[in-house]
């Protein structure tokens, strides 16, 4: 189903016991959430396989069965169906691959997707929409039960308005919950039935984001691609977006800082004294800028005694951590487990659907007013891992957890519900443990830390050692392994004592460039600059990876990413400016406020008009400079394609460069030395696999130092090829492969013998 076709119709069948009843339709965001909510509302719920058949003339095709849940709440029946995230998407209204494009409409996802390939997801999407359509037309009432946030409002609101028209949204009821627990789901249903509506402020803000992101993405991407095509006839997929542009520019700026960094020398004094054990002391004057000064300090302190001049102890209180919001959870999860922002959110989302934690996409550091900590702690105490601490806290009288300052209008902080999640493993287990222990820690007393410092006088030069000791653990005793840095105890020195200097030397050191961003620090930068939302930042970084604009754990910009950033910087710098992205976020705030306060001061239409005006200016600038833009991209591409074929220096002649070459006679590709073309000075060649995409690598083979190539076979895992024919790693791999094949052959033979 590539395009909407009026000759197509659908036959949807529900079991008779459903058809015969009058029911309300519940719309959940995901199948897993639908099942969980349904089971909470009615433990005797019936799982319904909805049969959807597409009819096109004589042709009939049964689509994958969407699952619904038929249940009874009090005396009323309800059919809960689910989306699978967004079922509808925006597309260009009209035809033609040009820009600017300002007309768009919502269409089902499966209609927009490529007409050459229909995926299983397309078929599921098609079936879900038809099932929901059929059920919606039979339902007497509608209850939106998607996640209560901007995205959830858009998912639920768009499905209903596309199927039944915008008017239905005013009558639709809205369940608003932060945990998928019995208590909260039942309560939110009662409130929905009492008249809780869709949050139209949030809904319109979400629509604004969708519309502007679509307009930005399609127009700017086309502007880039058409500049290249119209100038040089070349094609390359290039794209950018409202938040992607500035985020990519952060990576590019950092890369430039690193690449243009000039280190400065400075000198450290390494000095140790001999007590019961050897202690390294720090020079109080810090790093020394002048080499001669460092030499003087060494000369002055060599073979001297270190006098314990002063012992200073200061106690300070360290407050317990505030409860998690998403940003802090992602931060800590990266710190303790090295998880990316996206992975942490994915785990937290699964824990939320399982009912184990509250809704994770929140900025709040505050617990909900109605929270029953005793109940949560008692339930957590049923889990052997948390029994000891949870029981202790449950029995503690007058407990009052600390809270942070940040709030969120839609959800409280992230906390465990007490519901024991089933068989957690991998990242989910780690993230859950972190959330539970941080929850415990919020009930703790401040920890008392003693900071200690011992000052030494060595022939009138000042040195020191410092350490810290936890005097009273307080919340640290509740926080499991998540207590930050550990103690560093100092020796029991007394003022006036002396110890001989064992060793002293000066060390030349150089200042370091700023570090590359990693996933966490890049997300934090986005947060500081107020671009993107708490829910989307991780996804935006992931999409930059997916588009191959950035690479590596220490994030580097790729050549294609650099082209996009360079072009936008030169010809449409607003696209990558943080101010513009921030301005659009503020427009979203205005739309939301205007609707919530019913002032009509700034409507969704106003926001779109303003957004289009801004976009139009940027597109004009790109259009006016189309030739320059095209030439710049083309030139960068040429240079990068050239360097992309270069594998590294030739190991055989030491003069030429190894390059990926395609034979003009056989058409086969191989690696050869450029010196071959210089009177056949070097004939070194190395074979290459003939299928799959190849990418040269900076990293040399660990075993033999030869250049390596990354091979991307279609549909299979990428692998690394070392060019050295006798590479020990390669030999080891071949050995293992042979062993595996022998084992497989033996197994097959055995099976055949059994069959015979």
């Amino acid at each position: 189903m590539a395009v909407a076709d009026s000759s197509v119709n659908y036959d949807v069948k529900l079991p008779k016991y459903v058809e015969s009843k009058s029911f309300a339709m519940g719309l959940a965001e995901k199948p897993s959430a639908a099942g969980k909510i349904a089971k909470i509302l009615d433990p005797k719920v019936k799982e319904v396989k909805i049969k959807v058949t597409r009819k096109n003339g004589d042709k009939e095709e049964r689509l994958p069965d969407p699952t619904g849940y038929f249940l009874k709440v009090d005396d009323s029946y309800m059919m809960i169906v689910s989306a699978a995230g967004h079922l509808y998407t925006l597309t260009q209204d009209g035809v033609g691959w040009q820009y600017p494009v300002y007309d768009f409409r919502w269409v089902p996802n499966h209609i927009k997707s490529s007409n050459r390939h229909i995926s299983k997801n397309d078929l599921r999407n098609e079936a879900s929409i038809e099932a929901i359509k059929y059920i919606a037309h039979k339902a007497k009432d509608f209850i939106v039960m998607t996640d209560y946030d901007e995205e959830g409002e858009v998912i639920g609101g768009i499905i209903l308005s596309q199927i039944l028209g915008d008017e239905v949204l005013q009558d639709a009821k809205r369940m608003k919950f932060s945990t998928i627990t019995k208590k909260e789901i039942k309560h939110s249903l009662e409130e929905a039935l009492d008249g809780n509506q869709i949050n139209f402020g949030m809904y319109n803000r979400g629509l604004m984001r969708h519309y502007l992101d679509w307009l930005w993405g399609i127009n700017l991407s086309r502007a880039l691609m058409l500049s290249l095509k119209n100038t040089s006839g070349q094609y390359l997929t290039l794209s950018t977006g409202r938040v992607q542009g500035p985020t990519l520019s952060f990576v590019s700026e950092r890369q430039l800082e690193i690449d243009s960094f000039v280190p400065t020398p400075y000198f450290n004094i390494n000095l140790s004294i001999e007590a019961d054990v050897v202690w390294d002391l720090n020079y109080t004057g810090g790093p020394i800028d002048v080499r001669q000064d460092a030499i003087s300090v060494v000369d002055k302190t060599k073979e001297q005694d270190a006098l314990v001049a002063e012992i200073i102890s200061k106690k300070r209180k360290k407050k317990p951590p505030a409860p998690f919001n998403l940003s802090k959870l992602q931060d800590m999860s990266h710190r303790y487990f090295k998880l990316t922002s996206q992975r942490t959110l994915q785990s937290a989302q699964r824990l939320y659907i399982a009912g184990a934690i509250s809704y994770p996409r929140t900025s709040s550091q505050k617990y909900p007013e109605e929270i029953d900590h005793n109940e949560i702690l008692q339930n957590l105490a049923k889990n052997s891992t948390y029994k000891k601490i949870a029981t202790k806290l449950a029995n503690q009288k007058n407990k009052k957890p600390v809270e942070g300052k940040k709030t969120d209008p839609a959800h409280p902080c992230i906390y465990p519900t007490g519901t024991k999640p089933d068989d957690l493993s991998g990242n989910d287990k780690k993230v859950y443990d972190l959330i539970v222990h941080t929850y415990f820690a919020t009930f703790g007393e401040p920890a008392v830390i003693e900071n200690n410092r011992i000052n030494f006088d060595i022939n009138s030069e000042d040195f020191y050692i410092s350490g810290k000791r936890t005097v009273k653990p307080g919340w640290k005793a509740l926080a499991g392994d998540y207590t930050g840095t550990g103690d560093k105890e100092l020796p029991n020195f007394k003022e006036g004592e002396t110890y001989p200097v064992k060793n002293v030397e000066w060390i030349e050191t150089f200042t370091r460039s700023p570090p590359y961003y990693n996933d966490n620090s890049l997300r934090k930068r986005m947060e500081e600059e107020e671009i993107g939302t708490k829910a989307t930042r991780g996804d935006i970084i992931a999409s930059l990876f997916k588009r191959k604009y950035i690479k590596g754990k220490a994030i580097e910009i790729t050549p294609v990413g650099e082209i996009v950033n360079q072009v936008l910087q030169n010809y449409s710098s607003q696209v990558i400016s943080v101010q513009l992205s921030r301005q659009l976020e503020k427009m979203g705030d205005l739309v939301e406020e205007s609707i919530n306060e019913q002032t009509d001061e700034f409507s969704l239409a106003d926001a779109i008009v303003q957004g289009v005006i801004l976009l139009h200016e940027m597109l004009e600038s790109l259009q006016d400079n189309e030739e320059e833009v095209g030439n710049l991209i083309s030139k960068e591409l040429q240079s990068q394609r050239r360097s992309a074929r270069e594998v590294g220096p030739c190991q055989e002649c030491g003069v030429g460069t190894l390059k990926i070459i395609r034979s003009t006679t056989s058409g086969k590709r191989f690696v050869g030395c450029t010196e071959y073309f210089n009177d056949k000075n070097c004939t070194a060649t190395y074979p290459l696999p003939q299928s799959g995409r190849l990418e040269t690598m900076d990293e040399k083979c660990k075993a033999d130092g030869f250049p390596q190539i990354q091979v991307y076979p279609s549909g299979k895992r990428p692998w690394t090829l070392c060019l050295f024919p006798d590479c020990p790693i390669r030999a080891e791999y071949e050995k293992k492969k042979k062993k595996r094949e022998e084992k497989k052959a033996k197994k097959e033979q055995k099976e055949m013998e059994v069959e015979n």
């Binding site: 430039l256 690193i258 690449d259 243009s260 960094f261 000039v262 280190p263 400065t264 020398p265 400075y266 000198f267 800028d289 002048v290 080499r291 001669q292 150089f510 370091r512 460039s513 710049l632 030139k635 960068e636 040429q638 240079s639 360097s643």
Partner: protein, 77 residues
């Protein structure tokens, strides 16, 4: 015209493209700190040689390229 640095095809109206110019400016700015560190006898050529060939000290890639170019330039003068 193209940037003066070997293999750099970025266009420029000056000798250096924007990126290499930035690296050159940083090299020039930082020389004073190196002279403070090693004394007045420390020469510009020694400095460039350090930046261009000592991988351990952590010069940026653009800095190494410009330093190498400036070193060649000063040797041919």
């Amino acid at each position: 015209m193209d940037c003066i640095i070997v293999d750099c095809v970025r266009s420029t109206t000056d000798h250096y493209c924007m990126k290499h110019r930035l690296a050159k400016e940083n090299i020039e700015k930082t020389f004073a700190s190196w002279q403070v560190a090693y004394g007045d006898d420390y020469t510009w050529e020694e400095y460039l040689d350090h930046l261009a060939s000592d991988y351990e000290i952590g010069s940026g890639d653009l800095v190494m390229e410009v330093a190498e170019h400036l070193l060649l330039e000063s040797q041919t003068q």
